[in-house]
C-alpha cells in the first residue's frame, strides 16, 4: 500500500511548513518531503536531502499508541512464569540481579520473589498466553504480537516516559507524533495530525499517580505546529475551540470574511506569503470548530459499538471512551493518536490495583482492535500498547500469596503491537525464568520506535532534523534496529 500521490501533493500544499518548504537550503525535512513529492529524481532533489523513505514502503497510514503510564506489571498480565510459584518468598539469586541498579525504594533491601497470583491461559489459534485479568484481549490474541523482551534505560517514570516518547531521557527533544507530523505532513483537511487523549480517571492507583508532562507530546526542537493537540475530557475538546458568548458560527463566518478581505489586501501591498498562511489557518480553525465537535459527539454510535468497547465507554473521559474516539479519529485520518492511561504504578497492593487497571483497558483495547478490523482499518492502522518499563519479580512492601507490590524494572517488560503488517498471534522474545533478564530477542525502546516508523514507511536513520549540531532522530544517537521478525 502506497500513499497516493495526490495525498502527498495535498499534504505538501497544506503543510503549514511554509518557510521550511520555501527554503532552498539542504537542511531539514521539508526538502525531503518535496523530494519524494517530485518522484525523488536527482534533478528535483539536487542539493537537497534524498528523503527518508524505507524500502518496505508505508504499511500503516496511522498509529494508535496506547501508553500505559506508570508501568504495568508484565508478569501479572503477559509474561507467564509458572515455576515461580515454588519460589514464593525466597530471595532472588544474586546471579540474576548481577549488581544492577535499582531505585531508592528497594535499594539495599532483600529481594523476595513474589509470584503472580493470577492464572494464565492460552488464547486463540496461536495459543498466546495471557492472564485472567485480560479475558477480552485474549479474544484478539491472533491479531496482536506480544513482545515479551522489551527493555529500556530508565528506572524512573519521568525520564522513562520521556525516553519512550521522545527518544532520550533529557527533555527538549521532539515526540514521536510530532516527528510524523513534521515528516509526513497532513493527511486530513480539518483535524490536527497528532492528537493526545488522556484518561480523566482510572480504577487502579489513586494516590500514587505519576504526572504526564506536555513534553511527551511536545515538538521539542521541531516547529510547534507539530506538537500534539491534547483533547480535553471536559469543556472544549481542543483548547479555545468554542466561540465566545455572543458569537455564533454565522457571526464567526462574517468576522472571518472581513478579516480575510483585509489580510488579502494587505498581502497585495506587503508581499509576504506568510499573510496567506494566516488566512488559510484561520479557515482551518473555522473548519475545526465544526469537525472537532462532530468527532467528539458520539451520539451516532449504535449500542453494539459501545458494547464492543464495554460499559465504561459510555462515560466521558474514560480510557474506553477514548479508544472509541481514537477509532473515529482513525476513520478521519488523524495520523498519530496517543492515549495515556495513568495509574499503573503498583509499588504496593498490586493485585487489587491491577484488577482495576485491567478492567479499564482490557475490553477497550480488544474492542478497538475488533472495531478497526471490522471496518477494514486494521490493515493500515498500527495499534501499539506499552508502558515506560516493567516491574520487578521481587516484592516491595508486604508479601503474601495474594498481596504484594512491585518496584520499577527496566530490564524486561511486555508490549504489544497489532495491525499494519505486524504478525498476529506471535509471541516474540523471552525472559528468564524470573522475568528479570531477557533470554532471547531483546527489543530496546528505540528498536520498538524504529519499528513503528518502519510501518509508516520511514527509515528511522533518515528522518532527521539538524539541531544542536546533530542530525537529531527519534531513536537517538545509539543504533536502533527494526524488529523485522515480527513483520509480515
Amino acid at each position: 500500500m502506497k500513499l497516493p500521490e495526490t495525498d502527498l501533493l495535498q499534504s505538501f500544499n497544506n503543510a503549514q511548513h511554509r518557510r521550511q518548504f520555501l527554503k532552498t537550503s539542504a537542511m531539514g525535512l521539508g526538502a525531503s518531503v518535496m523530494g519524494s513529492l517530485l518522484g525523488g529524481t536527482t534533478q528535483a532533489t539536487a542539493g537537497m536531502d534524498t528523503g527518508f523513505a524505507n524500502k518496505t514502503g508505508p504499511k500503516a497510514k496511522r498509529v494508535i499508541f496506547l501508553f500505559m503510564a506508570g508501568a504495568p506489571s508484565q508478569m501479572d498480565l503477559f509474561d507467564h512464569k509458572p515455576k515461580l510459584g515454588k519460589l514464593f518468598n525466597t530471595p532472588l539469586p544474586d546471579s540474576i540481579t548481577n549488581g544492577q541498579r535499582v531505585t531508592t525504594m528497594t535499594k539495599g533491601k532483600e529481594k523476595l520473589i513474589a509470584p503472580s497470583m493470577f492464572k494464565f491461559s492460552k488464547h486463540g489459534k496461536s495459543g498466546m498466553e495471557m492472564s485472567e485479568l485480560l479475558p477480552h484481549l485474549g479474544k484478539v490474541a491472533d491479531d496482536i504480537c506480544l513482545i515479551r523482551s522489551t527493555h529500556t534505560d530508565s528506572i524512573n517514570h519521568d525520564p522513562g516516559k520521556t525516553l519512550f516518547c521522545t527518544g532520550t531521557e533529557i527533555p527538549g527533544k521532539a515526540s514521536m507524533g510530532s516527528w510524523l507530523s513534521y515528516g509526513l505532513g497532513k493527511m486530513n483537511q480539518d483535524l490536527p495530525d497528532f492528537v493526545v487523549l488522556n484518561s480523566a480517571f482510572w480504577s487502579g492507583d489513586k494516590s500514587n499517580v505519576q504526572a504526564l508532562q506536555s513534553r511527551l507530546w511536545g515538538s521539542g526542537f521541531l516547529p510547534s505546529m507539530h506538537q500534539g493537540v491534547a483533547f480535553q475530557p471536559a469543556g472544549d475538546p481542543v483548547l479555545f475551540l468554542s466561540n465566545p458568548a455572543g458569537v455564533s458560527r454565522k457571526a464567526r463566518h462574517k468576522m472571518l470574511d472581513l478579516v480575510s478581505g483585509l489580510n488579502q489586501k494587505h498581502f497585495t501591498e506587503v508581499g509576504d506569503p506568510e499573510i496567506q498562511t494566516t488566512i488559510a489557518q484561520q479557515e482551518m480553525a473555522f473548519r475545526m470548530q465544526m469537525s472537532v465537535p462532530e468527532l467528539a459527539d458520539l451520539s451516532d454510535e449504535p449500542d453494539h459499538v459501545y458494547d464492543l468497547y464495554g460499559p465504561e465507554s459510555r462515560k466521558s473521559g474514560s480510557f474506553a471512551r477514548n479508544c472509541l474516539i481514537a477509532r473515529r479519529m482513525a476513520e478521519r485520518d488523524v495520523r498519530f493518536i496517543q492515549l495515556f492511561h495513568r495509574g499503573w504504578d503498583h509499588h504496593v497492593g498490586l493485585p487489587g490495583k491491577i484488577r482495576g487497571q485491567a478492567y479499564d483497558v482490557d475490553q477497550a483495547c480488544s474492542g478497538l482492535i475488533q472495531d478497526l478490523k471490522q471496518r477494514g482499518l486494521l490493515e493500515d492502522t498500527l495499534v501499539v500498547f506499552a508502558g515506560e518499563f516493567g516491574r520487578t519479580t521481587y516484592c516491595q512492601g508486604t508479601l503474601k500469596h495474594d498481596q504484594y507490590g512491585r518496584d520499577h524494572h527496566p530490564r524486561c517488560f511486555t508490549t504489544w503491537m497489532a495491525g499494519a503488517g505486524v504478525k498476529g498471534g506471535l509471541t516474540y522474545g523471552a525472559t528468564d525464568e524470573f522475568s528479570y533478564n531477557i533470554a532471547e530477542n531483546p527489543v530496546h525502546v528505540r528498536d520498538f520506535n524504529a519499528t513503528i516508523l518502519n510501518r509508516l514507511g520511514i527509515d528511522h536513520n533518515k528522518l532527521v532534523f539538524p539541531f544542536l549540531g546533530l542530525d537529531q532522530k527519534l531513536t537517538g544517537v545509539d543504533p536502533a534496529y527494526v524488529v523485522k521478525d515480527i513483520l509480515t
Binding site: Q16, K23, A26, A46, G47, T50, T103, T104, M105, K107, I155, N156, H157, D158, P171, G172, P192, A200, K206, S207, A211, L212, Q213, S214, R215, G218, L222, P223, S224, M225, Q227, Q232, A234, G235, V238, F240, N243, P244, A245, G246, V247, A251, K254, M255, L258, V259, L262, N263, K265, H266, V270, D272, E274, T278, Q281, Q282, A285, L468, G469, L470
Partner: protein, 812 residues
C-alpha cells in the same frame, strides 16, 4: 588507489558559478563536518582509518602522506585519495559509505571540493575559535545610503549580489517596529502623534533613546534571557513542585534597565557568590546555577540526580555564554567539534561543588517547601517581618520549654490524669505557635542562590557518561582548543571561569551575545544557529559584520544598550519590509538584509499588546509570578495528586493583567496561550524560538477569554468618541491597533463589516445580550436597551476583527 576512469566522473559534476571563490571555512568545512567528520574527526574512539578531516596537520590530519598516498594533494585531483573516494562508483570505496546513513555528497558539493583541491586544499582555523578583531570597513559603490559601519557591511554584501537596499520604512511603521522591538508593547496614539510631529533630523534617534529609557525595555529583554536560562516557577521533574526564583527574574530586569555591562551580567550569574563580599544582587544572580530541572527525593538515585544537575548546569553555560553544545561530550569526545570528554569534565569540575542537595525534599511540608525554597537561599524580610519572626520564634521556644517542664513534672508526680490534660493543652499551644511561625515565614520572600562548598570535590571523567563508572581524575580548566586560563596558585574556581569567559581573548562570548541581539532585531541571527557556533552550526551570513559587532561590544565595555541602540539606528534596520512575494520566497529569513524583517510577534507580545489595546494592561514591575486565566482542569488531567500547588488558581484583581513575563511557568504544562505561540517549556535552554503559524493560534486569538474580552473594552472606548463621525472612529481604532491610517478602501471594508455586524446583531438580540453579559467590564454589562446592545456587539466584533488581523500579530 586512484582508478583513471574515475576521473571522468568529474565531468558529470555540476559546474561552479564562475565568480565563486571557494573558502575553506564557508564552503568546505560544512561539507566535511556534515558528511565525513563523524568517522574522521575528533572522536578518537570511533575514528576510522586513523584519519581526521577536521584538521590538516598531525599524523592523522588531512595533509598527511602515508605510503605515498595523499589524502589531499594540492592542485592535483588525480592523486588526491579524498577526491577519488567521493566520486567513485565502487561501492566498497565510495565515501561516505552507502550503509552509513550519511547522505551522499551532492554534485554541488563535489564542485566546491574540486575547486578547493585545485586551488590548494588549504585549511583555515575554525572561525569561531579565533578571537574577533576589528575588520576593515568594506568599500561600497553606493555612497549615499549610510556612513554607519554596520550598514557598509550589509551594503557590501548586497552589492556583491547586485542588489540594493530597500527604501526606509515610513514613520508609522518605524515607531511601531521600534516600540515593539524595544519594549514589547505597541506605541500609543499620543506617542505616534509626537513622533510624526517631530520633524527634526534626529527624531528617530530621540524616539529610540526614549524607548531605551523605559522600564518596559528591561522587561522585554528579560523575556529572551529567561528562555535562554530555562527560568521556571516549578522544578520541572516528577511532582514538578513549585520553586521560587522570581527575585532572579527581577534582577535580570533591573540589570537590563540599569545597563549593567554584559561582563558583569555574566560574572554575577556564573559566580556572583564568589565575590569577596558579594552584594545581594550578586547573590541573587548566582541563582543562575540553580535554574536547572531538579527531581524530588524518593525515586531517583541521588548520585545520578547530582550528575544530571551538573550536566544541565554546564550545558546551560555552553548554550548561553559559549554557543557550544558541550553536552555532546558527556559520553564521548564530541563528534564534530574539538571538545573532548576531558574538556567537558574540566568544565564540569567548576560546577559540581555547590553546597546544595541534588534533589529537593521528598516531604511535602514545611515553610521552605511551601515557599518553593531549598538551601542555599536568600531571604528578603522587611524589618517588620524579621521582628515578627523573632517574636514568633520566641513564642515557639517558650511553648516548647513549658511543655518540656510539664513533662518532667509529670514523671515526678503521681497525679497522671491532671498532668495529662495540662500536657495536651501545652502541646496544642506549641503546635499553634509553630503554625503561626510557619504561616509568617511563608510570607517572607526568598530566592535560590549558589554557595560553594569549602572543599573541592574531586572530579572524574564519567566513563561513557555513566555517573557510576568513574575514570581518570581531571582538574578544573578551560577546554584545550580555546585560549588557556591564566595559571594561579591553588585551584581555579567558578570566578576564574567567569573571568576567562569575559576575557577579550575569548573568541566566543562576545560573538554569541551580539549575535542574539542581532537576532532579536532582524528575526534571525547573523549565525542562524544562535545556540551553536561549532562546526555543525551555520556559517555566519556576514562574518565580518559579526566580528565588527563583537569587537566593538567588548570595546564599549560590554555595553548592551549601546549595542542595541547602534543596531536599531542603522539604515539596515530601518528599511521597509515590503517586497515582492518572490523576494520573500527567495530569502524567507531575510538573510541578505535586502529589506526590513517582517515576523510574527512572540507569544508574550501578542498577549501584552491585546491587553494594552484594551486599556487593561497592568504595568506594575517585579514580584512573584501571577496566574492569568487558563481553561479549567488543565493541570488536573496531567499532574500528580500531591503536586504543590495542586490546582491552578487564577490570580485576582489586576494581577491577571500583568505583563506575560510575570506568568507562572509550570514547566510540565505552561500556560497554553504561550506555548501555542511557540514559547518554549523552559525545560531546556533555548536561544531562539520558532515562529509558526497554526490553526490553534487562530483559535486563541478568536476565542481565548481575555483576548475576546479585550474587544469589549476596546469597543466601549470607541463608542465614547461621540464627537467623531463613524469613519473617523474606525480610523481611530485601526490606527490604535496598527499605528497606520487606513486608506479609503480599508475604511470602506471596515464600515461594510460594521454594517454587517449591526444587521446581524439587530436580528439576533439574544446573542448581543449574551456577549454583553459576559464582558468583565461593568459599564458594558449595564447596557440594557436592545438597540444599544446590538450596536455595542457590532463594534465589539469590529474591534475583535482588528485584533485578529495578520498585521496586528506581526512586526513589520
Amino acid at each position: 588507489m586512484i582508478k583513471p576512469s574515475s576521473i571522468f566522473a568529474a565531468l558529470f559534476v555540476a559546474a561552479l558559478p564562475a565568480s565563486a571563490e571557494v573558502t575553506f571555512n564557508a564552503d568546505i568545512r560544512p561539507i566535511l563536518s556534515k558528511k565525513c567528520v563523524q568517522c574522521h574527526g575528533p572522536d578518537a574512539e570511533h575514528r576510522k582509518a586513523d584519519l581526521r578531516l577536521d584538521i590538516a596537520d598531525t599524523d592523522e590530519g588531512a595533509h598527511r602522506v602515508k605510503d605515498d598516498v595523499y589524502i589531499l594533494k594540492p592542485g592535483d585531483l588525480e592523486n588526491s585519495e579524498l577526491w577519488y573516494r567521493i566520486i567513485t562508483d565502487d561501492e566498497d570505496d565510495v565515501m561516505p559509505p552507502p550503509d552509513s546513513h550519511v547522505k551522499g555528497i551532492t554534485p554541488e558539493e563535489k564542485a566546491l571540493i574540486e575547486e578547493w583541491i585545485l586551488t590548494g586544499a588549504q585549511y583555515e582555523d575554525f572561525w569561531a575559535f579565533v578571537p574577533p578583531s576589528e575588520p576593515s570597513i568594506p568599500e561600497v559603490s553606493e555612497k549615499q545610503w549610510s556612513d554607519e559601519p554596520i550598514d557598509q557591511f550589509v551594503l557590501a554584501k548586497l552589492e556583491s549580489k547586485e542588489r540594493l537596499p530597500s527604501p526606509k520604512a515610513d514613520k508609522r511603521t518605524l515607531i511601531r517596529r521600534a516600540t515593539l522591538d524595544l519594549t514589547g508593547l505597541p506605541p500609543t496614539l499620543d506617542e505616534i502623534d509626537a513622533f510624526l510631529k517631530d520633524t527634526s533630523k534626529d527624531a528617530y534617534t530621540k524616539l529610540v533613546d526614549r524607548l531605551l529609557a523605559k522600564p518596559q525595555y528591561g522587561e522585554h529583554m528579560t523575556k529572551y534571557w529567561l528562555d535562554l536560562v530555562r527560568f521556571g516557577d516549578t522544578n520541572g521533574m516528577h511532582h514538578d513542585h513549585y520553586r521560587e526564583a522570581s527575585p532572579y527574574r527581577d534582577w535580570v530586569i533591573r540589570s537590563f534597565n540599569d545597563n549593567l555591562g554584559y561582563d558583569d551580567f555574566l560574572t554575577y550569574q556564573v559566580a556572583g557568590d564568589l565575590y569577596e563580599n558579594p552584594t545581594t544582587d550578586q547573590l541573587v544572580a548566582s541563582g543562575f546555577n540553580r535554574l536547572h530541572l531538579i527531581i524530588d527525593a524518593g525515586t531517583a538515585l541521588p548520585e545520578e540526580s547530582f550528575a544530571k544537575n551538573v550536566i544541565d548546569r554546564v550545558s546551560s553555560v555552553g548554550t548561553a555564554f559559549m554557543g557550544l553544545t558541550l553536552q555532546c561530550a558527556v559520553c564521548h569526545d564530541h563528534k564534530f567539534d574539538p571538545i573532548t570528554q576531558k574538556d567537558f569534565f574540566q568544565i564540569y569540575a567548576f560546577f559540581n561543588n555547590l553546597d546544595a542537595e541534588p534533589e529537593t525534599t521528598g516531604k511535602r511540608s514545611g515553610p521552605d517547601f511551601r515557599r518553593g525554597l531549598q538551601k542555599p537561599f536568600l531571604e528578603f524580610p522587611t524589618p517588620e517581618q524579621e521582628e515578627t519572626r523573632l517574636l514568633l520564634k520566641a513564642d515557639v521556644i517558650a511553648a516548647s520549654a513549658q511543655l518540656r517542664a510539664a513533662k518532667a513534672l509529670q514523671q515526678a508526680s503521681d497525679d497522671a490524669n491532671k498532668s495529662d490534660k495540662k500536657i495536651k493543652t501545652l502541646a496544642a499551644s506549641l503546635k499553634k505557635a509553630e503554625e503561626t511561625l510557619e504561616k509568617h515565614i511563608i510570607t517572607i520572600p526568598g530566592t535560590l542562590i549558589s554557595k560553594e562548598r569549602d572543599e573541592v570535590r574531586p572530579t572524574h571523567i564519567h566513563i561513557r557518561g555513566n555517573y557510576d563508572q568513574l575514570g581518570d581524575i581531571v582538574e578544573r580548566d578551560s577546554p584545550h582548543f580555546l585560549p588557556p586560563m591564566p595559571k594561579k596558585e591553588g585551584a581555579q574556581n567558578r570566578m576564574d571561569f567567569a573571568k576567562w569567559l569575559i576575557d577579550p581573548g575569548n573568541p566566543l562570548t562576545a560573538r554569541v551575545a551580539v549575535n542574539r541581539l542581532w537576532q532579536q532585531f532582524f528575526g534571525v541571527g547573523l549565525v542562524k544557529t544562535s545556540e551553536d557556533f561549532g562546526a555543525q552550526g551555520e556559517w555566519p551570513s556576514h562574518p565580518k559584520l559579526l566580528d565588527h559587532l563583537a569587537y566593538n561590544f567588548m570595546e564599549s565595555g560590554w555595553d548592551i544598550k549601546d549595542t542595541v541602540r547602534t543596531i536599531v539606528l542603522t539604515e539596515a534596520y530601518q528599511q521597509s519590509s515590503k517586497a515582492k512575494p518572490q523576494q520573500f520566497r527567495d530569502d524567507p529569513d531575510n538573510r541578505l538584509l535586502a529589506r526590513g524583517s517582517r515576523f510574527r510577534l512572540d507569544s508574550e507580545v501578542v498577549r501584552d499588546q491585546i491587553l494594552a489595546l484594551s486599556g487593561n494592561l497592568n504595568l506594575e514591575l517585579y514580584g512573584k509570578s501571577v496566574k492569568p486565566p487558563q481553561p479549567d482542569g488543565l493541570w488536573e488531567t496531567v499532574t500528580m495528586p500531591h503536586t504543590f500547588p495542586r490546582s491552578y488558581k487564577t490570580s485576582s484583581g489586576d494581577d491577571i493583567y500583568r505583563r506575560s513575563l510575570y506568568t507562572f511557568w509550570k514547566r510540565s504544562i505552561p500556560l497554553p496561550q504561550m506555548t501555542i505561540f511557540d514559547a518554549p517549556s523552559r525545560e531546556a535552554c533555548i536561544a531562539r524560538r520558532e515562529r509558526t503559524n497554526t490553526p490553534l493560534q487562530a483559535l486563541v486569538l478568536m476565542n481565548e477569554e481575555q483576548y475576546f474580552d479585550a474587544a469589549t473594552y476596546f469597543a466601549s472606548d470607541l463608542l465614547k468618541q461621540n464627537d467623531l463621525p463613524e469613519n473617523k472612529k474606525i480610523e481611530h481604532a485601526y490606527q490604535k491597533v496598527t499605528s497606520q491610517i487606513p486608506d479609503a478602501d480599508t475604511t470602506l471594508q471596515l464600515l461594510g463589516g460594521l454594517d454587517t455586524f449591526r444587521e446581524f446583531y439587530s436580528e439576533e438580540p439574544k446573542l448581543a445580550a449574551d456577549m454583553i453579559s459576559k464582558s468583565s467590564k461593568q459599564e458594558v454589562r449595564e447596557i440594557k436597551e436592545p438597540g444599544k446592545q446590538a450596536e455595542f456587539a457590532a463594534w465589539t466584533m469590529l474591534a475583535h476583527s482588528l485584533l485578529n488581523l495578520d498585521t496586528t500579530k506581526t512586526r513589520e
